[in-house]
Structures are given as structure tokens and as C-alpha cells.
């Protein structure tokens, strides 16, 4: 090592770092930093020109200060100057500063790009390396614009040094990830594929990463990489442990490269060419065989590297899902790891086995490990490992072992960590429902859940048990008896009171014949819990009482006495008071016949996918759960299908229904997608794609709680007539005033949307439906935002499962945050393979600025006062345009409400005009908006005026709304 290697003479920097380390308090540190900042500032501003060394040292100090967590707002220019220095270390520090503290200041970016351009052209490999590292580290769109064309040339040029090729490959990869549209495919792609044959393993390693990402998006163009990757892999796995010299890591030949090659192969189905396929199978067998050989070293690095390759090979085997022999071997190997002394291996084995459980070839093999997994659940000391065990039990569950698995999970729940309780509750509830042969078992299980972990039993779970009991008349008597017994416990969870109240209110008569559970005893039992419960539960119990009046006329007077008591009639809570008053009145004046009609037993709930499953999907991300459900669909008859008169068709079963989630998002009333007034329902079907008035079967007076399971089930996934691709803008316009509907449809694929927005946040569910009977492979939806848009709109989502079965639907959730106002729409790009062909679909995602509207009601006087305040010419945008649709005032009103603003009545002196107000919520600001729409019926024209505190917002809203009429 050269003597200069450490602390290359920047003594000032070392002294400064020591000073900081010696600071006794945060205050002292800040003081020292401020002193240093002042010093550096004065040096940079001083008359005396600084030499390169000083500049380097000060820039380095600034960098250190920044890395300590302080803001740095100067020094960028000096760092840029360093880039053009001929001294390597000065250039290097300059680049480091730029890489860490990128600034989107366009002036500076131009200078930086210039310096990079010079270094790339310098033909000095070290300088080129630095420049490429910088591009890869910053990876901004501006850099992609400047260099995306140049770097492929460097990458494939014959005379480029190996190390530069490596940097160029990964640099290009970074640019492709940030701005795929700017990286042109071309002749270079085939030459890149041939880098897999390069002599230099470092070059192959870097190139494989690039090829993998490119192949995911352009599978056809990179198809030839499969055979090259297989032969490269084959050479590696069969090489002796010393053949690859420095690329052998603790006796494992090129583990990183092997893992990457196996990853690349997972972009494709099994090779079609039998020779290639045979060679790959040999490779995979060799890797599995090696796992059985005695280790060549006791070091953990050896076993980690070896097992890293092994796990990646197993992933490939699972991905191909076509060689039963390999799948079973993989499963056996993982089975060994389940009992390994290394926690890491146990964790990974549990994780990998989860995916194996969903393959039909290995499902049975996975099931043989049930005892080990249950044991892991009981004995593992690390909660993250136990979590994996729960996941695996859930994945391996089927009709044959459901009772055992559910019992074990319930057992574990008693001591489970709080962090994972809710998830286990959901899983138990789903498994119990799905594999119930005997409904008494189902009811017992759910009541047990409530007993053991009542606090973690979400509404979805107890709504669901009620839906099922109401739909299955063979279980109603048992359910009534069981809840009655459970309620005897001196302390029972409030959720049990809810379930008990509901079920006895419906089916208490079924057990009333037994003197131990006579009507009066039932009533007294419930009422003994009443005062310990929260308001919503009490409200529910009041509804139970009125139902009792109908079921058991003999205790009518007792119930009326309770309703009449001051604590009810004069209750401080309006809801309780109202229920007491109304129920009392109803019981007094209504005849028996009327009571019997009004309080009739609830009709069966329409069948739909379990709302609990939707909840679990929300918790776990859609892909994992969907995957499991899809594969299990055939194996299990859905219990709800059984007794129902209406047959449940396959598409309904696989349609994930997000309605429960969406309802859950807004705790307050949904303001944005305000429900239309009933009178104009028929008109509004066009504007809001929701079924206008879903008929809910409500027991009279039963609002919140009784209504809840009902509401959840009557909410339908909006189905709209098929819609073929239209102009992108037209599509966006279609969604400006509504949140749900079909975004895109062709012969293969349907994309549906459901979204909800609140203030500056939103959530969009995207449903991808495979309309064919063939699987989609490498299904990859990508959200593309320009840099501009990215800084204003934050979108977060998880990748979906790359395989979409025929007829199935997968769901993707996009979380949306509006940071600042924006104009463009993000683009949703979907790529997948269908049959042998590659499909590519791009649609604009209708996320528009008005989605972040909150309506504001205001009086006429306020409106005009604010209108005047916004009289600055930049604040107003006006548009006069011809009506494109019939000028119906009711539709216009609905559209303005759908747009998100409040519709202010009696504000404008001319009643034909429409006036609206609202606030656009962004993270950085709230922008008040006023709008006025003046129709001119004779001329069939409109004049639309927008006034907001921000010019760009006025303009954008005016543009969006003008398209609607």
C-alpha cells in the first residue's frame, strides 16, 4: 500500500474532525461547525484566489458537515471548479461532493455535465471512471438527456478498458432505471448480450445486472441472453474452486455472478431448446448436489456464498415450476435448512417454502414439514422468524390440515408478539372460513379468536362471521347457543358483545325454548354488559332490544322500561337518544304485523369475496396473497358457494373487492366523491361510475353497526361497459370528475381503477384483469413520472406478481401524495408476455390536480370578498368555450361536485350561473380556489373563470374543468 494512502495531507480536515469529536455537547458541535462555515465562506468569498488544495480541503469539510446532518447551501460552485482540475484527488473530491449533494440548479447541472463530458472524452480511464461513477450516483434526468446516447458507445467500443466497461454498464443501468425513455435501444444491445461471454468476470458481472433489467422490459430483444447465461453458469458451477482465482470467494466460484445469472434466467420461461434446457437442469442439479457435499471451509462466508447460489437456484426452479423432480429436491433441501442451527438459514428456508407451497408439484412435499414449522412457531426466539413460520403455515394450509393449523395459530396467538397479532387474527379468520367443513367449528374458532385477541379482531372479521351466520341457516341455532354461553363469562370482550347482540337479535328465538336461555334471561344477560360498552356497541344493543320486542312480545314491557329510562331518553349522545326515542315510539304505536315486517330477519347477504381477505391483502401487499388464493382456488370449494341459490361464477370469486379498504381509508364522511342526491341518480350514473343507489337491506333504525356488514357487501366493484383504448387525454378527462371505472380494455387486458383522495393524499387501486385463458408472464406494470412531476407528486407502489393466471385479476395499490401542484399525468406502462408475444401498453393514469380538492362551503358575502381579494391578473384564468355536451344544469352541478369543489347555491345573482369553492391540498401549500361557470344557452357556450392564489393552479383547474362540459 502506498504510504500516502491514508489522510492524503489534508491535515486541516483531520483537525476539524477531531475538534468535532471532542465537542462535549450538541451545542458545542454546532458552534464549532458554524465557526468553520463562517471561515470557509470567507475563504470562498475572499479576494485571494484559492489554490486547488485549499478548495479541495474546504469542499471536503463542507461534505463532512453535510454528512453530520447539517444543511449546506454553498460551496457547490467551488466543487464544480474542482471537476476541471487536472489533479486527480481534487477532481475526485469534486465528484464526491456533487454525488452526495446533487442540486437541481440547472445552471450548475450544465457546468457539471460539461466537466463530465470532458472527462469522458479524455480517454484517461481513471478520469472516465470518475465521470461514470458520478453519472451513476446522480442519475438525474438531465444527465440521462446528456449521456444516455454516449454511454452505450463507450460500453461496446472495442478499445474500452475493462474497468471502464464495468462502470459504463452500471451507469447505463442507472440511467435506464430513472429514464427508460431516454435510453435508445439499438445495435449496441446485441453486443451487450455478448459481454456475457467476456473473458473478464468483472465485466460479465456488471453486464449481467444491466442485461437483467433490460430483459425484464424488452424480453424479445434479449432472448439470446438465455443460452449465453446458461453456458456461462455451467462453466462456473463445474469449475474447480481455484480456477477463477480472485473471483472465487471462500472456495465458492464467482457467487455474485452465479446469483446474477440465475436472476437473469428468472426473466424467462424454461428454455425451449432441449440442449440448453438440459444443460440448465444439469447446472441446477449440480448446485443441489453441492449442498450435500461436506463444506470446504468452516467459515460462515463459505456457507453463505454457497447457499446464496443455492437459494437463487431454488428461486429459478420455483419460477419455472415445470420440473417436479427439481421442485421436490428443492423442498427437501429447504426442509433440511428448517432445522439448521443458523437462524438466517431457517428464516430463508421458511420464506422460500412459502412460494414452493403454491406449486402443485411441491405442495404435498411442503406439507410434510408441518410439524417442524409448528415447532418453529413455538420455539424460535426471533419474532421475524416466527412471522415467517406463520406465513408458511398459512401457505401450506388446505382442507386436510386446516383444523390442526388453525388450532396451532390460535395457540400461538395467546403469546404472540403484539406486532403480528392482527395479521394472525386475519389469517385464522380466513382459513377458518375457507376450509370449514363444519360450520360449528367455524363459529367456535371465531369466538375463540375474539376471546384470545379481541382487541386485534377488526370490524371486517366480526362483520364476516355475522354475514356467514345469516347466510347459513344450519348454523344459526348453534351460533345463538354458543354466543349465549360465551356471554356468560364475567368479563368478555366488547367485540363478543357486538357479535352476541347481533346474533341473538336475529336468532335468539332459536334457543328461547330452553328455560336456561329464556327471552328474559337473554335480555338480562345482554343488558348486564350494556353499561360497560362504548357508544357504537350500545347503539347496536338498542337495535337488538327492538328486535327482541318483535321476537319475544312477552318481554316487550321490560324493554320499553329500559328504553324509557332517563339514561336512554336523555342520553348525552344524540345517536343513542334518537334510537331510544324512535324504538320506544315504534314499539308503542306499531301493530304486531307492522313490527314483524319492519323488524324481519335480515335477508342473506349477496356473496362476494371475503372482506377479510381484502384486508389481509391490504396489509401484506396484493401479490403474496393473490398468488396463494389463485393457486388454491381449485383445491377448495368456497364455503359460501354451497348453499346459495345464485351460483357464484369464477370471475366473481377471483375479483378482489377493495371496497372495505376504501371505506376504511376515510374516517370522516367521504367528501370528495360526494354521493349524488338521490333524485338525480339516473343522470349521475354517467358521471360517477358507481351504481347509483345500491339497495341496502336495512333493518329500520339500525344504522351504523347493523348497517355496516350490509354496506360492505352492497358496495360493488364498478363494472362499466367495455371500453377500448381512446386518446390518452380523453381518458384522463373521463376520470376528472370521478374516481372509479375502466381505464383501459383490449382483447387481452382490462385495467380498472378505484381511488380515493383525502386532502393531499390518495390511494388508487389498479385492477389488472387477464381476459384470456392463458397466463400472462413477466407481467410488469411501471409508473413513469417525469422528473418534474416526480418532485410534485409522490407515488408509491409495490410490484405485482409477475404471473397473472388466465381469467384472474391482480390488484396493485398506489399511494399518492401531492407535494405541490402539477400539470402532467403519470404514465402507467404495462409489459407482459402473452403466449409467445411481448405486449406493451401505456396509459395515462388519471391523477389530476383537482383530486386534492376539499370543498369549502361559504356564504355569498364571503365568496365575493374572497373573489375580490384574488383580483390580481395572474390569479385569474378565464376560458370561453363551446359546449360539447347538452347543457343540462343538473349534470353540470354533478360535474362541479365531482370535480371536488363545493357547489355554492344562491351566491351568484344570476341563478343560471354556477359558483364553486374549495381548497387544493398539497404538502407544501393549501391553495384556495374559487370558480364561476356562466352558461349561455343561446350561443351554446360557457365562460369559465378560475381564481386561485397561484397562477399555475388557476390555469390547470381551468383546463381540466373546461373539458368537462
Amino acid at each position: 500500500m502506498p504510504a500516502v494512502s491514508k489522510g492524503d495531507g489534508m491535515r486541516g480536515l483531520a483537525v476539524f474532525i477531531s475538534d468535532i469529536r471532542n465537542c462535549k455537547s450538541k451545542e458545542a458541535e454546532i458552534k464549532r461547525i458554524n465557526k468553520e462555515l463562517a471561515n470557509i465562506r470567507s475563504k470562498f468569498k475572499g479576494d485571494k484566489a484559492l489554490d486547488g488544495y485549499s478548495k479541495k480541503k474546504y469542499v471536503c469539510k463542507l461534505l463532512f458537515i453535510f454528512l453530520l446532518g447539517h444543511d449546506i447551501d454553498f460551496g457547490h460552485m467551488e466543487a464544480v471548479n474542482l471537476l476541471s482540475s487536472n489533479r486527480y484527488t481534487e477532481k475526485q473530491i469534486g465528484y464526491l461532493f456533487i454525488s452526495v449533494l446533487v442540486n437541481s440548479n440547472s445552471e450548475l447541472i450544465r457546468l457539471i455535465n460539461n466537466a463530465i463530458k470532458n472527462d469522458l472524452a479524455s480517454r484517461n480511464p481513471t478520469f472516465m471512471g470518475l465521470a461514470l461513477h458520478c453519472i451513476a450516483n446522480v442519475g438525474s434526468r438531465e444527465m440521462a438527456e446528456a449521456f444516455a446516447g454516449e454511454i452505450p458507445k463507450i460500453l461496446v467500443a472495442g478499445d474500452t478498458m475493462d474497468s471502464v466497461k464495468q462502470s459504463a454498464a452500471l451507469c447505463l443501468l442507472r440511467l435506464y432505471r430513472t429514464s427508460p425513455d431516454l435510453v435508445p435501444m439499438g445495435d449496441w444491445t446485441s453486443r451487450v448480450v455478448h459481454l456475457l461471454n467476456d473473458q473478464h468476470l468483472g465485466v460479465v458481472t456488471a453486464a449481467t445486472s444491466l442485461i437483467t433489467t433490460l430483459a425484464q422490459k424488452n424480453p424479445e430483444e434479449f432472448k439470446t441472453s438465455v443460452s449465453l447465461a446458461v453456458s456461462r453458469l455451467s462453466r462456473i458451477v463445474t469449475s474447480a474452486s481455484t480456477d477463477l482465482q480472485d473471483y472465487t470467494y471462500y472456495f465458492v466460484p464467482a457467487p455474485w455472478l452465479s446469483v446474477k445469472l440465475l436472476r437473469l434466467l428468472q426473466c424467462y420461461p424454461p428454455p425451449e431448446d432441449p440442449a440448453v434446457r438440459g444443460r440448465l437442469t444439469e447446472c441446477l442439479e449440480t448446485i443441489l448436489n453441492k449442498a450435500q457435499e461436506p463444506p470446504k471451509s468452516k467459515k460462515v462466508q463459505h456457507s453463505n456464498a454457497k447457499n446464496a447460489v443455492l437459494f437463487e437456484a431454488i428461486s429459478l426452479i420455483i419460477h419455472h415450476d415445470s420440473e417436479p423432480n427439481l421442485l421436490v429436491r428443492a423442498c427437501n433441501q429447504l426442509g433440511q435448512f428448517l432445522q439448521h442451527r443458523e437462524t438466517n438459514l431457517r428464516y430463508l428456508a421458511l420464506e422460500s417454502m412459502c412460494t414452493l407451497a403454491s406449486s402443485e408439484f411441491s405442495h404435498e412435499a411442503v406439507k410434510t414439514h408441518i410439524e417442524t414449522v409448528i415447532n418453529a412457531l413455538k420455539t424460535e426466539r426471533d419474532v421475524s422468524v416466527r412471522q415467517r413460520a406463520v406465513d408458511l403455515l398459512y401457505a401450506m394450509c388446505d382442507r386436510s390440515n386446516a383444523q390442526q393449523i388453525v388450532a396451532e395459530m390460535l395457540n400461538y396467538l395467546e403469546t404472540a408478539d403484539y406486532s403480528i397479532r392482527e395479521e394472525i387474527v386475519l389469517k385464522v379468520a380466513i382459513l377458518a372460513e375457507k376450509y370449514a367443513v363444519d360450520y360449528t367449528w367455524y363459529v367456535d374458532t371465531i369466538l375463540n379468536l375474539i376471546r384470545i385477541a379481541g382487541d386485534y379482531v377488526s370490524e371486517e372479521v366480526w362483520y364476516r362471521v355475522i354475514q356467514i351466520v345469516i347466510n347459513r341457516d344450519d348454523v344459526q341455532g348453534y351460533a345463538a347457543k354458543t354466543v349465549f354461553e360465551a356471554l356468560q363469562a364475567p368479563a368478555c370482550h366488547e367485540n363478543l358483545v357486538k357479535v352476541g347482540g347481533y346474533i341473538l337479535g336475529e336468532f335468539g328465538n332459536l334457543i328461547a325454548g330452553d328455560p336456561r336461555s329464556s327471552p328474559l334471561i337473554q335480555f338480562n344477560l345482554l343488558h348486564s354488559k350494556f353499561h360497560l360498552c362504548s357508544v357504537p356497541t350500545r347503539a347496536l344493543l338498542l337495535s337488538t332490544y327492538i328486535k327482541f320486542v318483535n321476537l319475544f312480545p312477552e318481554i316487550k314491557t321490560t324493554i320499553q322500561d329500559v328504553l324509557r329510562s332517563d339514561s336512554q331518553l336523555k342520553n348525552a349522545d344524540v345517536e343513542l337518544q334518537q334510537r331510544a326515542v324512535e324504538y320506544l315510539r315504534l314499539s308503542t304505536i306499531a301493530s304486531t304485523d307492522i313490527l314483524a315486517t319492519v323488524l324481519e330477519e335480515m335477508p342473506p347477504f349477496p356473496e362476494r369475496e371475503s372482506s377479510i381477505l381484502a384486508k389481509l391483502k391490504k396489509k401484506k401487499g396484493p401479490s403474496t396473497v393473490t398468488d396463494l388464493e389463485e393457486t388454491k382456488k381449485e383445491r377448495s370449494a368456497d364455503m359460501n358457494g354451497g348453499a346459495e341459490p345464485a351460483p357464484v361464477n369464477a370471475s366473481t370469486v377471483s375479483t378482489p373487492s377493495p371496497s372495505a379498504d376504501l371505506l376504511g381509508l376515510g374516517t370522516g364522511p367521504p367528501t370528495n366523491a360526494a354521493s349524488p342526491p338521490a333524485s338525480s341518480g339516473s343522470l349521475l350514473v354517467d358521471v360517477f361510475s358507481e351504481p347509483a343507489s345500491a339497495v341496502t337491506q336495512l333493518a329500520p333504525g339500525s344504522q351504523e353497526n347493523f348497517a355496516s356488514p350490509d354496506l360492505a357487501s352492497s358496495e360493488l366493484v364498478s363494472e362499466e361497459p367495455a371500453e377500448t383504448a381512446r386518446g390518452a387525454d380523453e381518458l384522463t378527462h373521463k376520470f376528472v370528475c370521478k374516481n372509479n371505472g375502466v381505464l383501459f380494455e383490449n382483447q387481452l387486458l382490462q385495467i380498472g381503477l378505484k381511488s380515493e383522495f383525502r386532502q393531499n393524499l390518495g390511494r388508487m387501486f389498479i385492477f389488472y384483469g387477464n381476459k384470456t385463458s392463458t397466463q400472462f408472464l413477466t407481467f410488469t406494470p411501471t409508473l413513469i413520472c417525469s422528473d418534474d412531476l416526480q418532485s410534485n407528486l409522490n407515488l408509491q407502489t409495490k410490484p405485482v406478481d409477475p404471473t397473472v393466471d388466465g381469467g384472474a385479476q391482480v390488484q396493485q395499490v398506489v399511494n399518492i401524495e401531492c407535494i405541490s401542484d402539477f400539470t402532467e399525468a403519470p404514465v402507467l406502462n404495462i409489459q407482459f408476455r402473452y403466449g409467445g408475444t411481448f405486449q406493451n401498453v401505456s396509459v395515462k393514469l388519471p391523477i389530476t390536480l383537482n383530486k386534492f380538492f376539499q370543498p369549502t362551503e361559504m356564504a355569498s358575502q364571503d365568496f365575493f370578498q374572497r373573489w375580490k381579494q384574488l383580483s390580481n391578473p395572474q390569479q385569474e384564468v378565464q376560458n370561453i368555450f363551446k359546449a360539447k355536451h347538452p347543457m343540462d344544469p343538473e349534470i353540470t352541478k354533478a360535474k362541479i361536485i365531482g370535480f371536488g369543489s363545493a357547489l355554492l347555491e344562491e351566491v351568484d345573482p344570476n341563478p343560471a350561473n354556477f359558483v364553486g369553492a374549495g381548497i387544493i391540498h398539497t404538502r407544501t401549500a393549501q391553495i384556495g380556489c374559487l370558480l364561476r361557470l356562466e352558461p349561455n344557452l343561446q350561443a351554446q357556450m360557457y365562460r369559465l373563470t378560475l381564481r386561485t392564489s397561484k397562477e399555475t393552479v388557476s390555469q390547470r383547474l381551468c383546463d381540466l374543468l373546461s373539458e368537462q362540459f
Partner: protein, 154 residues
């Protein structure tokens, strides 16, 4: 692809941060705070992997320093553990039995070595010899010290 790598001490002091995805400073600080807390709370025998948001965290402790990487769902945990180890070996070889202080006082070198090893969140060069050769070459390009002898400290 690796999304970021953090090096922090047992006291929770951040010693090195490398981000391979664009995030705001605020977001970076939030992530750092959250992860440092999570990882420090874990017991020694626990497994080196954990789920965090939609990422997988792989971490390992070397003496007083924690090395912590965030990788994506499809990525391989064990090979990431060895990425950490190889980086430690590189630092060790370069500094000669590396300790936390070396990284504090020569943070820029730690970044340079990392850039030779990982680029854009992917492994660039796994050969220890090749990485160190690149760094040594750069060191040789360094100006001899005497040029700076008369330069004031501040």
C-alpha cells in the same frame, strides 16, 4: 438492486450513507433514524434479515460498527450479507485492520472504495485485487505531500 447502505455505530452515530435511489434529505433522515433504532434494538443471536416497509433489510455488526443494507423483494439476502463482508475486507486491506476511526477520518476514501465495488446499487467488481488496484492507482496519481508543506492548516 440495493437501495441504500448505512454504516452506524453502536451509539447510533451514522458513519457512512450511500443512497442508490433519489430521496429527499428529510426522507433520508427519517429512514436512517427509524432503521438505526430498529437494528440497534435487535439481540445478537437474531437473524440478520428483516422486513421493513416493502424492502428487505440485511445487516451485520463488525466490532462497534453496524453495516446495514436495504434490498428489494427479489434480491438475495445471503449474497448481500457477503457484499457487506467483502466491503469490510476491502476496507480492512486498504487501511490495514480497519477500525471505526479510520472510516471517520477518511470517510472520502471509504466512499471511493465503495464506488469501485458497488455502482448504482449493483456489484461492479467482486475481485478484491481489482478493486484495490483501482484505488492504489488513484493514490499513486496523488500529488506528493511536499507540495503542501507550506499550506496553512485552515
Amino acid at each position: 438492486m440495493m437501495q441504500f447502505m448505512l454504516l452506524f455505530s453502536r451509539q447510533g452515530k451514522l458513519r457512512l450513507q450511500k443512497w442508490y435511489v433519489p430521496l429527499s434529505d428529510k426522507e433520508k433522515k427519517k429512514i436512517t433514524r427509524e432503521l438505526v433504532q430498529t437494528v440497534l434494538a435487535r439481540k445478537p443471536k437474531m437473524c440478520s434479515f428483516l422486513e421493513w416497509r416493502d424492502l428487505k433489510i440485511v445487516y451485520k455488526r463488525y466490532a462497534s460498527l453496524y453495516f446495514c443494507c436495504a434490498i428489494e423483494d427479489q434480491d438475495n439476502e445471503l449474497i448481500t450479507l457477503e457484499i457487506i463482508h467483502r466491503y469490510v475486507e476491502l476496507l480492512d486491506k486498504y487501511f490495514g485492520s480497519v477500525c471505526e476511526l479510520d472510516i471517520i477520518f477518511n470517510f472520502e476514501k471509504a466512499y471511493f472504495i465503495l464506488d469501485e465495488f458497488l455502482l448504482g446499487g449493483e456489484v461492479q467488481e467482486t475481485s478484491k485485487k481489482n478493486v484495490l488496484k483501482a484505488i492504489e492507482q488513484a493514490d499513486l496519481l496523488q500529488e506528493p505531500r511536499h507540495e503542501y508543506f507550506n499550506v496553512p492548516v485552515y
